[in-house]
């Protein structure tokens, strides 16, 4: 074969590996919902099974992250900058990490929130999962963005997706305020150390949506160039 062959010109695209990683991350954060449900009900056996699943998915996401990083040599000329790809990847990965941390902490300390809070906490978690799902929808547009050369209608479409993501994140902030207020009302009657960790869990759940939003803003940076 002639060694200047035209195929060697095409580097491996980071787009589909990035989307595959996000899909894994999304699976991981979605596994958080059954875990939280079991944990809120105090069914720790069931919760443990869910936690194992979350850890497994997080590990798999880690593997995908490593493979993508290794396949991103410096000599590539890309439609999206190498730095942006790596930063989006890092953000995506942090969603999975945070999910694992939340499950680990709740299971490790068998944190049981006051039962009255259950409904609100579940709503909170679900909305954070929505944020991540919205980030995934936006990330899934990357191949279309490359197809249009980052121009025109497609940009508007992705921008509106990111706008929606920001709105969802805003929702989670509001729910978070309410959840904290509920806990504040009851904290005097609860063991102080447990309360400390409850606040921490609430913070971390809120972080999920924050990070998802950051995935969106990194993507927005890609649009701008």
């Amino acid at each position: 074969m002639s060694p200047v062959d035209i195929a060697s010109l095409f580097g491996s695209s980071p787009v589909s590996p990035l989307q595959a990683h996000m899909a894994k991350v999304q699976a991981c954060i979605e596994a958080l919902e059954p875990f939280i449900e079991s944990a809120l009900d105090g069914k720790w056996k069931k919760a443990e099974k869910a936690q194992i699943k979350i850890t497994k998915l997080e590990n798999e996401a880690d593997e995908l992250k490593k493979t993508l990083r290794l396949n991103l040599p410096t000599g590539l000329f890309m439609a999206v900058s190498r730095r942006d790809v790596l930063e989006v990847l890092t953000m995506q990965d942090r969603i999975a990490n945070k999910s694992k941390d939340i499950a680990g902490l709740m299971l490790g300390r068998e944190i049981e929130f006051p039962k009255v809070m259950n409904k609100k906490i579940l709503e909170f978690v679900k909305r954070c999962i929505d944020a991540s799902a919205q980030a995934q929808i936006a990330i899934n547009e990357l191949d279309e963005l490359v197809a249009t050369g980052f121009r025109g209608n497609e940009i508007k479409l992705v921008s509106s997706m990111i706008k929606k993501l920001n709105k969802i994140e805003n929702d989670t902030d509001k729910i978070q305020v309410k959840v904290r207020a509920m806990l504040f009302k009851q904290e005097k009657e609860l063991p102080p150390i447990d309360v400390m960790f409850m606040y921490k869990v609430i913070d971390w759940i809120g972080d999920l949506a924050d990070i998802a939003q950051r995935v969106g803003s990194r993507l927005e940076l890609m649009l701008a160039k």
């Binding site: 695209s13 590539l76 249009t148």
Partner: protein
């Protein structure tokens, strides 16, 4: 001329071998983009390549062949010793052939065009004399090796931008594609036809005026366009297919276009690269047949281009389809909408070079064209190491071809005189 028949037979064998090599190796790059973007199957690609490589070689290969045959050497210096030119041309063919074999085996960057030009300049400068080389012409050729990828890049950039503007930006890209793709089809058909009418066809006895050339080119373009429209009309919008990737239907329209540009590419490649094989052969034949005169004026026999075309097709069918398959399989990131832009840009550049009689590297031009699409952010990732490989092929192939042809030249001289 003594040994005249021997020389012609030798030149035919070497020339046929080179043409075979072009068909076996070089065609792959010209066709692989179409296969890689799944616009064509291997079988379709081979059939298209066979037909259009042959047509390109036969109809439009004359100008570049003329350049290789007599454009780079000042034959006046050789009027007393025509056999030197025969030895030199045989040596160049053999040198380029050997170098292609060795380098391909070793995985070094090769370019058929560069090895044959290096070989001819080499034997002429050393074997005959420094002044025997028309350095101005050689300089132009060398310049064109830099210019052609750049020009192709600029054209493909513009083409892809226009696709973005007229099709991808529209609220209904599928409808827009149906409307605008026929225009690109016309462009491809018109451009290839025009160059062929202007510069080819003379040796098959057709002489056309400029006006006739233009009108026939327009007619050719229109005919191809209407065939294209007919095929595109029959495409059905499949909403299901767009769920995962929103431009699946649009790409189907571009796939029709790509059949046309792939044909143009094969035509362009044939028209430029056939000369690498039969240019030296043409030189040998004209000297021997004119009884030892270094006949600068004589026209070239058309059977020579025919032989070249046949050689390319043989190489393509015997070995080339395997290479197309391998190269095509490795192109995973190219969709028809950008594959067409790259192909049309490269084909235009190459065909214009063929018309002007400048031997350029089709592969390098295509690389330039793909990079142009990349500049428009149309390709996810391009490996820039290839650009380095291209520079290497200039630095390695030229002297290698030259040195080999010098050695063989003196060997032939020793054997036959």
């Amino acid at each position: 001329m003594e040994f005249g028949t021997t020389f012609i037979v030798l030149a035919c064998v070497f020339g046929l071998f080179m043409a075979w090599g072009v068909g076996a190796n070089d065609v792959a790059n010209a066709m692989a983009t179409s296969v890689g973007s799944k616009a064509l199957t291997i079988k379709q690609a081979v059939i298209i390549a066979a037909i259009f490589e042959f047509l390109g070689a036969y109809l439009a290969g004359g100008q570049v062949t003329k350049t290789i045959r007599k454009g780079m050497i000042d034959a006046d210096l050789l009027s007393g010793t025509p056999e030197l030119l025969v030895f030199g041309m045989l040596a160049s063919l053999l040198a380029a052939g050997i170098w292609l074999l060795v380098a391909t085996r070793a995985g070094w960057p090769v370019s058929t065009t560069h090895s044959i030009v290096g070989a001819i300049v080499g034997f002429a400068a050393v074997g005959i004399g420094f002044d025997a080389v028309k350095w101005a012409k050689v300089g132009t050729i060398a310049m064109s090796w830099v210019v052609s990828p750049v020009v192709a890049g600029v054209i493909s950039f513009a083409l892809f931008r226009s696709v973005q503007k007229f099709i991808f930006d529209k609220p209904k890209p599928f409808e827009a594609a149906k409307r605008y793709v026929p225009i690109y089809i016309f462009l491809a058909g018109f451009m290839v036809a025009l160059v062929t009418m202007f510069k080819g066809l003379k040796h098959i006895g057709l002489h056309l005026s400029a006006l006739e050339s233009y009108s026939y080119a327009v007619i050719t373009g229109l005919v191809i366009m209407f065939i294209g429209i007919f095929i595109i009309r029959r495409l059905q919008y499949d909403a299901q297919a767009d769920r995962d990737y929103h431009f699946t239907n649009v790409e189907k329209v571009f796939a029709v276009l790509m059949i046309v540009t792939a044909s143009a590419m094969a035509f362009a490649h044939g028209s430029n690269d056939v000369a690498n094989a039969v240019g030296p052969l043409a030189a040998v034949v004209s000297i021997v047949q004119s009884g030892g005169h270094v006949a600068q004026k004589s026209a070239m026999a058309s059977w020579i281009l025919l032989l070249g075309g046949v050689g390319i097709v043989l190489g393509l069918i015997m070995y080339g389809q395997k290479v197309i398959r391998t190269v095509g399989r490795n192109i995973t990131e190219l969709t028809p909408s950008r594959g067409f832009a790259a192909e049309l840009a490269a084909a235009t550049t190459v065909v214009v070079a063929s018309g002007t009689g400048i031997p350029i590297s089709t592969t390098h031009t295509l690389v330039g064209a793909v990079l142009g699409v990349g500049m428009a952010r149309g390709i996810a990732a391009l490996d820039m190491k290839v650009v380095r490989t291209i520079f290497m092929s200039w630095i390695i192939t030229l002297p290698a071809g030259a040195i080999l042809s010098i050695i063989i030249f003196f060997m032939l001289k020793g054997i036959f005189t």
